[in-house]
Symmetry: C2
Subunit: 191 residues, 2 copies
């Protein structure tokens, strides 16, 4: 009955999923969003509409699925120098990507469906990336903020502004990072 979340690679099901995802990405990139329909996606992916309906349910769920997979980070954050420098560079790029037209729309697509699974996946991606910096800092003996503080006081303000306000300017993002870093040094001194 139910469709596998992760189809066996190489199988027919995986090929269909890839073709449909690619079709969606192409169409979102080239045409007006309002003109992207399931029958059109199906046609471009060489698949029947009913296949998409049965597998994803409706356009919103399909878009949420595609968006979540696009929001998955490609690899490990770059190593530049100290954990702090790595973090600063990563956050700057993260903010830029999320604030871009495409990024903002991906966030919305992921949030548009009642099922929160896709959105939670994105939160997990971000925490996993940030954990890398924490591990690096620990290995280097650098003082570093906790994961909770990074999420609450850097990621959250950035995303909130992108969703409910204007995109945060780079200077503000730097200040958010600087503030959390400063606090982590203080708490280390106190502790």
């Amino acid at each position: 009955m139910g469709y596998r979340e992760n189809p066996r690679p190489g199988g027919r099901s995986a090929r269909v999923q890839a073709a449909v995802h690619q079709s969606v990405r192409d169409m979102l990139a080239t045409m007006d969003r309002a003109d992207v329909t399931i029958p059109l996606i199906a046609q471009r992916a060489n698949v029947t509409p009913s296949t998409i309906y049965r597998r994803w349910g409706d356009l919103q769920k399909l878009l949420a699925d595609v968006a979540a997979s696009r929001l998955q980070p490609e690899g490990e954050p770059a190593r530049i120098g100290s954990a702090r420098e790595d973090l600063e560079a990563w956050v700057e790029q993260y903010a830029d990507e999320m604030a871009s037209g495409v990024g903002r729309q991906l966030l919305r697509d992921v949030l548009a469906v009642p099922d929160s699974a896709n959105a939670e996946k994105c939160g997990t991606y971000t925490r996993r990336q940030l954990s890398v910096f924490i591990a690096r800092a620990e290995a280097a003996g650098e003082p570093f903020p906790t994961l909770v503080d990074l999420m609450d006081h850097i990621i959250s303000p950035i995303i909130y502004r992108i969703l409910f306000d204007q995109a945060p300017d780079p200077d503000h993002v730097r200040k958010l990072v600087a503030k959390v870093m400063a606090e982590s040094r203080q708490s280390l001194m106190r502790g």
Copy 2:
């Protein structure tokens, strides 16, 4: 051609808007979300579907419109004691409402449409509410955080968690408030 954002009160257009909004609210409260369709909404509101299509465009836009109006605060935040106490009480209630099933869905509905006008409206509502506390604190000579700090370090973490993670627990919310308040006293002492 275009429909007025705020129809003249008492006019036919305003009556239709009210009937449709009410119909949406009733249906969202009583039936499964997936079964809420424009033809059904129209029927319950005693209106033709084409009226809704022409005025709102599609279901998502209608839901976003209804959600934004439901997210508008009813009145001024309650006065309890100090500005800080007022804020604490307000934030607690805010977090509860937004984290509830209904609140979370309203947030999603507002974010689901490409047009950010509705979402920005919600951000503005929140800032306006918070400004009240700032004004009260100033009148009382209490030290108080800035609007930016309140938004970045209290509202943003709460909303981010609701959207991308689990709802924040009350204790964490209190800590967020306490931390921002503590910083505002420090910066006052330094300044």
